[in-house]
Structure formats: C-alpha cells, structure tokens
C-alpha cells in the first residue's frame, strides 16, 4: 500500500501489496504463518492418514476448488448460479473420455477439462450474463439441466445413466498413480495452482471491477466500465476453473455420473459457498469441506439421513453465521476497523 517506493507500475511480482486492503495489513503475517502451516499439514497428510482418509481429503480438495470457482461468480461478481455443476461435469466427462481414448497423462486431462469447462461457459454465458438476480438463477439452472440431460441421453459417448466408468488412473510422466497418496499429491498440486489462479484474479484490478459490479452495476457503467464484458469474462473463468476441478474429480473417483453435472451438485455447491462465506474464496473452500464430510463420511453412517444432517447444518449456519465461516474471522477485523472510524469522525 505504500506508494513511496518508485512507481514500479504493473509489476506482477508485487502481488501481496496490491491485493489486500490496508485494513488487513496487521493480520497478514499471521495469515501467512497459518497458510504455511496448513500447507505443510496438507502435504504431509498421506504420510499419516490411511488411504480411505486420504481419498476423502482428495475429494474435499477437489470440491474446495470447485466451490472457489463458484465463489468467483457468486461472491465476487454477485451472480448466483444454480448450474455451475454443468462445467464441472463437462470437465469430468472430458477428462474421463480423454483418459479412456487418448492419454491418461494427468496434466493433459485436467488442462483439457479446464478448456472444455471454459468453452461450455463461453458458449452459454453470453446469454446468461445478460440477465441478473432470479433470472440469472433460472437461466443457469436451465443450462445445468440441459448438460445433465445431454450426459444422460448421449449414452454411446457418456455411458448414459450408468455413467462413464473404468476411467484409467492418472499418469504422471507415463507412470500410473496407483497409491492414494500419490493421487492426493497430484490433486493437491493442481488445486493449489487453481486456488492461486483464482486468488490472483480476485486481487487484480479486474477482480476489483467485478466487486464494483457486484456492489453497484449502474455506477460502474457511469465510470466507463462495460459490465457485460466483465461478467462474461468472470463466467468463462469460473467455468474453466470448475472444469479443472471436474477433470481432477474424474481422475480421482474414476467414474463420472450425469448427476455430477446436475442440479443437486450445483445446489450443494451453492450451499458450500454460502456456508463458508461468499466472496472470500477461502471460506467456500472450508464450506466445501463441511459439505463433503457431512454428505460422504457421516451421511452413510446415519442410516441415509445425511441430507437431513446437511439441512440442519445449513439452517444453523444461516442463523448463527450469516456471513458464513469466513464471517467469524471478520469479527476481529471488524472491531479493529470500527474504532479508528469513530475517532476520525469525532
């Protein structure tokens, strides 16, 4: 934030300085330490956790990236989408088909999945982002259902309602990753890169413009911005990152079902974003962890009452944490912020 340094305009290296807001300056070292510790713990997981647990964590990571990509739309641009699983599904099917018919090289499959997600979003986004609010919700819902139906009916390609199964395991440099730990590390690396990409976008001038559109689209127009272009770009980017997550999912679970592209996945994901705190990126990642844990791990042990538990968690969260889990971190910052404000006005 200090401008007394020489005007090194547009150096991408100075990310941290440009990205945050001044009020977060005090907590930045703490956040950095916490981040590093979390990173170390995440990297060490396969050494201590059994394969089943490692696999669950891999799935949490994939859904965390997926939720963060939706947060780019919902929290940062202010476009609540109910069809975001479409891009996830397109990415998953793309990665699965590429692995079956061409190459299971992990980097290739996930990158093609990301491209497929972005292309799908680009093909429909120009229509969707012309609307807003409930209409955007309905349009994205329709697009999502369209992709879901397509996956179900094109059974010669996608396997129909049986899903696309028997996807070969991910290869890195020609070697198949058979151990859960190696797959986990691959997933972790890609998710971290994806999260870094999303964070860069969010902290960039482009991201600032997206937040401006979220807060006051009319004013952005009068400042000379064309909101449509920004919303469209955000939609395509979000689709690309969702596709990336989908590609990881296909390599990890090795079966893709039409429901992975359908409404229930989209709705769960929106739940994760709201649960975690829209607009913060890391909040929705946490929300995704909660959703996956409740649905996949504790759900089956409750005699099929997993969705009920999820519902209870959601109702409680909406009442107790109106700004999501991320809102908890904001409480401290909020107190620190209000104090100087009062001094200034007196």
């Amino acid at each position: 934030m200090t401008v007394d340094s020489p005007p090194a305009r547009g150096t991408p290296g100075a990310t941290a300085a440009a990205g945050g807001t001044p009020r977060r300056r005090g907590s930045r070292p703490l956040a950095a330490v916490l981040g590093l510790v979390l990173l170390a713990v995440l990297a060490a997981v396969p050494l201590f956790v059994d394969p089943f647990g490692t696999n669950t964590l891999s799935r949490i990571l994939v859904f965390a990236l997926f939720a963060m990509s939706l947060d780019l739309l919902v929290g940062i641009t202010g476009l609540p989408s109910l069809g975001h699983a479409a891009w996830f599904g397109i990415g998953a099917y793309t990665a699965g088909l590429v692995a079956e018919h061409w190459t299971a090289e992990g980097v290739v499959t996930v990158l093609l999945a990301a491209v497929a997600g972005a292309v799908g979003a680009a093909a429909t986004g120009w229509l969707a982002v012309r609307s807003s609010g409930v209409f955007f919700l309905m349009l994205t819902l329709a697009i999502g259902e369209l992709v879901h139906q397509l996956a179900q009916s094109a059974d010669t390609v996608t396997g129909g309602s049986n899903g696309l199964f028997g996807i070969p395991s991910i290869r890195v440099a020609g070697t198949p990753l058979t151990l859960a730990g190696y797959v986990y590390w691959f997933v972790l690396a890609v998710v971290l890169l994806g999260a870094l990409g999303l964070w860069l976008v969010s902290a960039s001038p482009f991201g600032a413009a997206l937040r401006g559109i979220r807060d006051n689209e009319a004013r952005m127009r009068s400042l000379g911005y064309t909101p449509f272009r920004y919303k469209y770009a955000a939609f395509v980017l979000a689709g690309g990152f969702a596709g990336l997550a989908g590609g990881l999912f296909a390599g990890l679970v090795r079966i893709v079902n039409p429901s992975d592209a359908g409404f229930s996945t989209s709705a769960l994901l929106l739940l994760a974003v709201i649960l975690g705190g829209a607009g913060t990126l890391w909040g929705p990642a946490l929300g995704a962890a909660v959703v996956v844990l409740v649905r996949d791990t504790y759900g089956p042990t409750l005699e099929g009452h997993g969705p009920l538990l999820l519902g209870v968690v959601f109702v409680l969260a909406v009442y107790l944490l109106p700004q999501g889990v991320a809102g908890l971190a904001g409480v401290r910052a909020g107190i620190g912020r209000r104090r100087p404000a009062r001094e200034g006005s007196s």
Partner: protein
C-alpha cells in the same frame, strides 16, 4: 470558433404525455462553469441523465466536442470524458473509500483489465491526492457504509474527478453537506483546471453564484434563459417563474437554513 464542448440541439425526453425535457438547445463552451437552475421538476436531473446516456433521448442530438454521441452507450460516453456525481450518492458500499476511488482511478491511470494483481502506483497516487483534495485523506481505509451523508458526497466528487473528465456533471453536489464542507467543495471546483468543463445542478444559489460564470434557467422542461449570473438575477421572467413564486418551495426543499451561509 471551435465547437462547444457540449452541444444539445432539440433534446427532448417524454414520459408518456409528460415532456420532462422539452426541446432543449444549449451550448456549453470548453472550460465553462455553467449552472443549471430551476424549480423542482424543471427537468434538470433528467437532462443530466440524457447527457450521460443513462436514459435515451426521445428526440434531439447530443454532441460532445463536435462528435455526435446521441447513440453511444453510457460507458462509451464515460470513456470519452463525461463524468458525473449523482444526486443521491451511489457508491460501492461494501468497499473502503480508497477502493471506491481506485475503481475510477484505475480506469485512467491503471491497468483495469489486468487479471493479475498490480501495484497501480499511479492510480493509488492519484486516489491519495484526490482524497486529500476532498478532505477525506484520513478516512481512506474506512468502509463507505460507515461514512456520514456529507462524507459520501465528498467520495462522490472524488470518484467523478478520478475519471479525469473533460465534462463534469454535478447533480446537487452540496446537498447534505455542512457549510464548511460545501465551502471546501466550492474551493475545490474553482481550482479545477480549464480543461475540465463543469456543469452543475444546484439548489443552493450561494454555491451557484460562487461557482458559475453562466447560468441556464430551466422551467417545466424548457430553457427559460441563459445568461451571466447577474442577468439571471435581474431578469423578471426568472424571478416570476422561479425566484418569485418558487422561492419558498426552493428553500424548503433540500436546503436547510444553515446552508445559506456558504459563499
């Protein structure tokens, strides 16, 4: 003679049977300090919306620096140098004062399309200078939602100036400001370079006469008179239509007694 910076010819806007702006023809030369006055409902704010492009005209032509901008969208016109403050503050409430102004400043001084973080030193420097000018230097990190009404008006002005406009439209910039704040605003606007043309709508006649070198009086959507402030003050038609019958309404609306001290 060069073309006037802003030229309206026959500009009309109808809402059903009501002609809010009725055949307005008006030339504002470059570097002007021009005021639009008139009783409530005279069509001042509507005229501004037609100029910025927020609202399409029903008929007529709008030219900016000789170029026809009638068919251009609002962002396109903004990029050609039209900037405005709105009658009711319209800001980015979840963000800090600095972030608000930076959004406007990064369009001219920064790299607004960049998908990766930038220092934007030039845009930040400009933001800092503008916040100092409007008197909010120590409020930069406060969320706009926590500001008082008068302070939000100041952010509006900083935001409009951060666009580096050639034509600055101010819609009641002093409304809701304290006498000290509006005196500061008048000083700030007076100090603007000649390259910025200012058109101001203001109910506070002290602000108008302190700032404007030419005045247009609108009444029921039509131009009643354009002239120097002295001509306007001396004109009987204006006094009848506006200062005479409308005087009480004028000061009861929006302007508190304290605000007459300005100027």
């Amino acid at each position: 003679m060069t073309a006037p910076l802003l030229s309206l010819s026959g500009v009309t806007r109808s809402f059903g049977a009501l002609r809010a702006v009725d055949d307005v023809t008006l030339d504002v030369p470059a570097g002007a300090r021009h005021a639009l006055i008139g009783p409530n409902g005279a069509g001042k704010s509507t005229l501004f919306k037609l100029v910025t492009g927020e609202m399409p005209v029903t008929a007529g032509r709008i030219r900016l620096a000789g170029q026809d901008v009638t068919r251009l969208s609002e962002p396109q016109r903004a990029r050609r140098g039209i900037s405005q403050t709105l009658q009711h503050s319209s800001l980015f409430l979840s963000q800090t004062v600095e972030q608000n102004v930076l959004l406007a400043a990064q369009r001219r001084h920064g790299s607004r399309h960049s998908p990766v973080p930038r220092r934007q030193a030039a845009a930040r420097e400009r933001t800092r200078a503008l916040l100092a000018d409007v008197g909010l230097a120590d409020r930069a990190t406060v969320p706009v939602a926590a500001l008082s009404h008068g302070e939000r008006r100041q952010v509006e002005v900083a935001l409009a100036l951060a666009c580096e406009p050639t034509l600055l439209l101010l819609d009641e910039p002093a409304a809701g400001m304290s006498p000290a704040e509006s005196a500061r605003l008048v000083d700030l606007l007076r100090a603007l370079p000649e390259s910025v043309t200012v058109v101001v709508v203001e109910h506070d006649l002290d602000v108008v006469f302190a700032l404007a070198r030419s005045v247009t009086v609108l009444h029921l959507g039509r131009v009643l008179l354009t002239g120097t402030p002295d001509e306007v003050r001396g004109d009987t038609a204006v006094q009848e239509a506006y200062l005479g019958t409308g005087r009480e309404a004028l000061f009861l609306d929006g302007a508190g007694p304290a605000r007459r001290e300005v100027g």
